[in-house]
Symmetry: C2
Subunit: 433 residues, 2 copies
């Protein structure tokens, strides 16, 4: 039987989950899959912290370099997170001839060039299924199952925290702050939720998806991202009236004149399959030129789903000649020339615009005149409450318009005396529905 | 560069689609994937039929045995369909030392034991991603991506024809016959639609899913299947009032006392993600003990989606040592002891019951008394139209009850003088939503 000797870095939530499964299903994997996974070394900064699992003390070290330099280790599983130390340790692992499995999306998004280059140069496996979509085998589908396709677009819900918050807001009408508190209480949001609610986590994952879907280097800072902190319960209610739900979407599209890639709150038709992806679930929809739309749905986080993805990577590695040199064509392609991502200001989109205005004659005329002057044309409108002299919401949906024209128009509109506060601008996507 | 020499059996819709992609993307696959796919021989019964593609006449033979016995062929791609001739030819291919890729779900469902056994004995690859879910890489996900999981249940929409028909009925209120005609016109249903509308095609695919999800032999005839021909527009409308949609579901569940596996029209909560799978789209939802629910969605049929799956299989084969002996652990597991599938009469379910009754006093009392006597209790009811002396629909939803008790009760009810025609019985599944 094949034996894979694992060096595990990090015994936090995910590391503990992985340890638990590899121990409890050891016999099952040996019998059914013909491979024996042995955890031969574990690095953990706080070895004495209370946790669910208790590996033999003899395996545990505080120094991650002990693990990656241990000659008995075949594969290093990096579950430390962060980008600085984890980057160093992974690079050392490759130099020591180890294969690497990681769930670290921030590292791969921000320092993917270095990591993938070194993996390729050292001819070792770099596997990272767990980095996007947790337990959903979406990268395997992209890199193997859809190999006959040129990927044309990506529409993805890849942050469980924000999807949970938006679902709560949609179902109960509560506002963002309250929904965030609820998410924190239930463990769906961290004490410092910034990376999630500002869209950075989703952008990390999108960078990885774009890299492997379109084949080439991706400069992370080129990916525009916008979070959900400014989405109000009003916006969700008005979107609903127009037949839309609001989702934080990671979007990438290939077109004749370049690639778009961005994370943004989006109005999505409520009949679209992604509109039914609720709570903390994730989904990645890829459009292949042969298959059309294909979608992968499931739990995007959590110790066991994430560990499930790590084990799938370990299985894949075990099926190859682990001592031989690795040629991973998908990694080579992902090291190709840089994918030029268009600036957000150059994109075309339909828009949802929400203004708070003083209810007085001439308001709609004033706003629509400015939009018209910037060649932004209106497709739909809601101005429900009539309350002369009071501040009321005014909602406009636009036809497709260049982002820069919309921005220019909004800058002018926001200075009008009867417009109160900052206007809300949310892009609308039909997403091929 | 690795070269894979393909013998193609069948140049119908799917065969032509495959040929087209392998020719038009030849350079791309060579450059990006490092593999050269060469079609070295093609068998087609009607070589002169008009079709989109025109392979060189020198490659084409009428005799499929020419192809599988050709020493220059590495992999045989079987796209003939049917179970008798295709079975013979695949077995010959294995005996000749070829690997086999097939899209043939009927063959694998009905004669899987023979085919998988011979593949295993000859130590050749048998790949069949295209047999379930067309272009959706769901079998790869099941066999590789979810390898760390014990699969607990399967809920799948795996027949595009019936899903298209039910979607049309739901969206427009048309009846089954009219929706079928529309589906035939649009090419979503065949001239003889029996295998689709009676649930046989879905049962074939379910047999393959069960085999690889639960690991063991499956006797196809043990899988209960029921089609959609008796679903009326009334049923769809009443289901909607209760908050359900009607879908043809392929269901399998593992429980302490055995495995359930069946294809049936099902009332599914309209908030369930599978309820949003419409038109001719397919979706396979698997529940893993580590991942929870994971779903794969896309086009379940069509030449290009299906060819996409075939090419993914070819790629997988190309990554291995194609001359060496094959050990496919998932195939070995699928040849394990037979999975005992429980008889449909022993299952527990909730039910939707629709009776046409003469509107007269005592009808509801009479029916509910009989149900009660069989220990079937009612959870909900609709008896809308009042039209004394006329025939009106009466809809009851039940709590969970044993199938055999419901059947016994229905037999008695159907004999009541005020009950007209055969009663409708549709199972309800919450499917973990």
């Amino acid at each position: 039987m094949k034996k894979i000797r694992i060096g595990l870095l990090g015994l936090g939530q995910i590391g503990s989950g992985l340890y638990e499964i590899l121990i409890s299903k050891k016999r099952q994997f040996e019998k059914q899959l013909g491979v024996s996974f042995e955890i031969v070394r574990i690095a953990e900064k706080y070895p004495n912290r209370r946790r669910k699992v208790r590996p033999p003390q003899s395996l545990v070290t505080k120094d991650a370099f002990d693990v990656v330099r241990d000659p008995s280790v075949d594969v290093v599983v990096e579950l430390i997170g962060g980008t600085t130390f984890s980057g160093e340790i992974i690079k050392t692992a490759f130099k020591e001839g180890k294969h690497v499995v990681t769930a670290n999306k921030a590292l791969l998004a921000e320092h993917g060039d270095e990591i993938f280059e070194l993996a390729h140069r050292m001819r070792r496996w770099i596997c990272f299924e767990a980095s996007v979509g947790g337990g959903i085998p979406c990268l395997k589908a992209l890199r193997e199952g859809l190999v006959a396709n040129n990927i044309e677009s990506i529409y993805a819900i890849i942050n469980g925290t924000t999807n949970y918050i938006l679902t709560q807001m949609t179902e109960t009408g509560m506002d963002f702050a309250e929904a965030l508190k609820g998410a924190q209480k239930k463990g769906y949001a961290e004490a410092d939720p910034t990376l999630d609610i500002e869209g950075v986590d989703a952008a990390h994952k999108l960078a990885i998806l774009v890299r492997f879907a379109f084949g080439g280097r991706v400069k992370f800072s080129d990916i525009y991202s916008e979070g959900i902190t400014r989405i109000s319960s009003d916006d969700i209610a008005f979107a609903k009236e127009f037949g839309y739900v609001i989702k934080l979407l990671a979007i990438a599209k290939k077109s004749k004149n370049g690639v778009e890639a961005r994370v943004q709150p989006t109005l999505l038709p409520k009949t679209h399959i992604l509109a039914s992806v609720n709570q903390s679930f994730n989904a990645v929809m890829l459009r292949g030129d042969e298959t059309g739309d294909v979608m992968f749905y499931g739990r995007g986080a959590g110790p066991h789903p994430t560990a499930s993805a790590v084990i799938a990577d370990l299985m894949d590695i075990s099926k190859r000649d682990i001592d031989g040199p690795v040629d991973d064509e998908t990694v080579i392609r992902a090291l190709g020339s840089e994918i030029e991502i268009k600036s957000i200001t150059t994109i075309l989109s339909r828009y949802y615009l929400r203004f708070y205005v003083i209810d007085q004659p001439g308001v709609l005329a004033g706003i629509s005149k400015i939009l018209g002057r910037h060649k932004v044309s209106i497709s739909d409108m809601i101005q429900r409450e009539r309350s002369v002299g009071k501040v009321v919401p005014l909602i406009l949906l636009t036809h497709e318009a260049p982002e820069k024209d919309v921005r220019a128009a909004i800058r002018v509109i926001d200075r009008l005396s009867f417009v109160k506060g900052k206007s809300q601008v949310i892009r609308i996507e039909e997403a091929g529905s």
